[in-house]
Symmetry: C2
Subunit: 527 residues, 2 copies
Amino acid sequence: MTRGSDIDSAAREEALTPLTLKRVGIDTYRENVAYMHRECDRYRAEGFQALAKVEVRADGRRILATLNVVDDAAIVGCGELGLSEDAFASLDAAEGSPVNIRQAEPPASIPAMRRKLAGERLTRDDFRGIIRDIAERRYSKIELTAFVVACDLGELDREEVFYLSDAMSRVGRRLDWHEQPVVDKHCIGGVPGNRTSMLLVPIVAAHGLLCPKTSSRAITSPSGTADTMEVLARVDMPFDELGELVRTHRGCLAWGGTSELSPADDVLISVERPLSVDSPGQMVASILSKKIAAGSTHLLLDLPIGPHAKVRSMPEAHRLRKLFEFVARRLGLTLDVVITDGSQPVGRGIGPALEARDVMRVLTNHAEAPMDLRQKALRLAGRMLEFDPDVRGGDGFGLARDILDDGRALNRMRAIIQAQGAHAFDPEHPPLAPHTLEVTAHCDGAVTALDNLQLARIARLAGAPRAIGAGVDLAVRIGDAVCAGQPLYRLYAASPNELTFARQACERDRGVAIGSPDGIVRLNVEG
Amino acid sequence: MTRGSDIDSAAREEALTPLTLKRVGIDTYRENVAYMHRECDRYRAEGFQALAKVEVRADGRRILATLNVVDDAAIVGCGELGLSEDAFASLDAAEGSPVNIRQAEPPASIPAMRRKLAGERLTRDDFRGIIRDIAERRYSKIELTAFVVACDLGELDREEVFYLSDAMSRVGRRLDWHEQPVVDKHCIGGVPGNRTSMLLVPIVAAHGLLCPKTSSRAITSPSGTADTMEVLARVDMPFDELGELVRTHRGCLAWGGTSELSPADDVLISVERPLSVDSPGQMVASILSKKIAAGSTHLLLDLPIGPHAKVRSMPEAHRLRKLFEFVARRLGLTLDVVITDGSQPVGRGIGPALEARDVMRVLTNHAEAPMDLRQKALRLAGRMLEFDPDVRGGDGFGLARDILDDGRALNRMRAIIQAQGAHAFDPEHPPLAPHTLEVTAHCDGAVTALDNLQLARIARLAGAPRAIGAGVDLAVRIGDAVCAGQPLYRLYAASPNELTFARQACERDRGVAIGSPDGIVRLNVEG
């Protein structure tokens, strides 16, 4: 039907002169960006468009990137192809290498994503295809958001949540500890200061259960468990090093990294977080896929309820629990769900060093150890110990208390800190930030509420978690009687500027409600 | 409650040293990007994150941008703030000006967007707030996609479609022609070669109706009306110049620009297109808001049905028509909907110059004028003429035919071309691309189908619309008998490479189905 010789597309590509790879010192976070000069022959020939998705190949490796068009030859010249820091690292080729570029094929799972967008129920294979493409960053921000919103609005049924969780756990690295049980704990969050993991791990590891705990850093909170643990020890060791350490000490408190375990989760979260989309199905899949990938066989789930926590009512908690239980069973994970009080922060400190101080006070049975943190940790540790087939139901709490009170938990924590790499200062006296300010009650009365969200916001403005010594140190809990002028909490900030920012936030709303004797609750507003 | 003097946040900002504005030669399409050095004090102090949304201010003006963090001082230095081309143009401040930057406040309409995301029905005020923020580019790609998908999946009711259309028509520029009727025409698209507007405008303008037609350029098609008209005349004149021209000649054929009329539409489309989301509500709002903003009082809507057109069945066409009618009535727009045949391309040429040639052949009553294009244009022009209160129902077609046949339409077209700015070559012989190839039938039989999508794809690969002379020139229509070896169409390409790309696509699927005498339909695959 046509004249002339056949040229297949591979040959056509080879016929074109490759471009020269250049590293462009721009950090585009988790988005790969490629930079190409507007006058570049290849750009003109192929009719690329700015913001188009392109495939960049060098030496048999390939990545996908979003194209930015450059008019300044100082950034990239005509024969060059620039890559942002992240993209350059992903392609893993030397500067100056020959690279090829072409329009990216749309991801193979897009038709399945479109069916979800049309409200259809997807199959196990559909979810696998979508999650694989998402983990490989083949989806654009737009496609990713469409998938997330369609799952949220279209409501996944529980079988679909299982498919999604299973698919997510199958991409990326998967750990195998070659023994059972491997216990883990997760809290669905929203409660500042709630650093129970740093108590649970030494208690259950001292008992002998394997507990390779990895945690996240703060994203919107003033501290994640990884940030707080980092006050005491190094947390960012490679998984291989971690394995050895865990086998020796039966536990660790490390940072989970961002993308080795269930990497699709990190990509999905990059969209869910800014939208505050947190549907039950997505929450369950996110949590359980990470645990399965980490090799856990038994999971204790802390589900706090409170007016400013993620879950706000008991019926909601029960529905969520049922969904977690169904999916965990399908995944072969033993699950125990504990519903806890999320109405106020746990412990006194909010911010990395302040929380680390609280944890160490509980471990050392210090006179000022926060009792609420101790009690909650013992309750959860008891339930975890009961994952041990040799521990009788109901015996866990007593066992946990003994391990804490007789110093075995403290010794185990010290060993873990040493093994991960202790920092130079005394773990029992982590360094607090130098600029402080006392925030006081403006009237007599009783504390009727602590606002988790506002207290977290204030701690962040003071510099937490970036400045490890920054944060809020609470002096009161709900129910405490206070007099006008009595301290409610103390702010710790790393710089005068940050102290000012935090103070301004306190002036608008200090996050502590006081019911005065005249029966009027004064809601945080300056008298 | 606190010590120290009060500093409000404006004062705090003023206390910080401003950065120096730098223009960074990177084209980020319609996304504003700000570049900041990682070691910049401001970056560290405020805890910005890469990809965060920031507000950049200079001299009382402000824009929103996405932050990229730079490690290379050659791109931006420590005391500088870089802006991508688009962002720099939007801020409209001189290089070297002092600029301030801060975390962007979330758009005020986000709570309403979240309610849509939760499946709620929104009010008129909700839509106004959302559309205002979208038009000001306050929404991130993620928020924008969430809104679009939520409207699509949640299904807007017809009252909501009216609210959305009305809100869209109220942001941006709004034209007022100070007379009635102001007639316009729109085709919902999907049919290559369908250049009726270039015939309707000269006919109705010659009759005396005011028809200030603006059209779009191609985005996924091989040519938009603006691209085809641009073969003959300049199309990108400013609105003010256009106004004068329209008053003199009663019509124009100009490019609608990208953002002056209903700018929110362009922003929404940037998400809808890559997702191929095209719900009836969004289509109606997009089309009618632009027409209202352009000052139209009467609209003729061409709604083609076909297996590869946007609307594929008569029931679907009727539902869409009812929605258009409801919303148009609420907006105060007189609407006439014509359902047409969209089963194959209209005219012979696909691509700017080939289509311009067809249009000029119809206007000049050329022996090779495509009769289907002529007939369709007369039918639509007749209905438009009946918007004139002095034209009796049923008389339009004859009137239109007279205006076309006696040369008044041609004269009006020539006047409009002159007024807009004619190009150097003869409009009746627009220049075709030099590299050509005939695609022929592989068997005897009759043409049973032309695939609009595949023919459009082939024309694009040949270089249309960028190369104005490139495209496909059809030799057959559905029902034509063909012999093996007989030409089906001719490819025109601007370069040998592009001819190869187009030929390769033809080899996979030439877009023409032939039913052979043995009763088997051979579907495009090479014998």
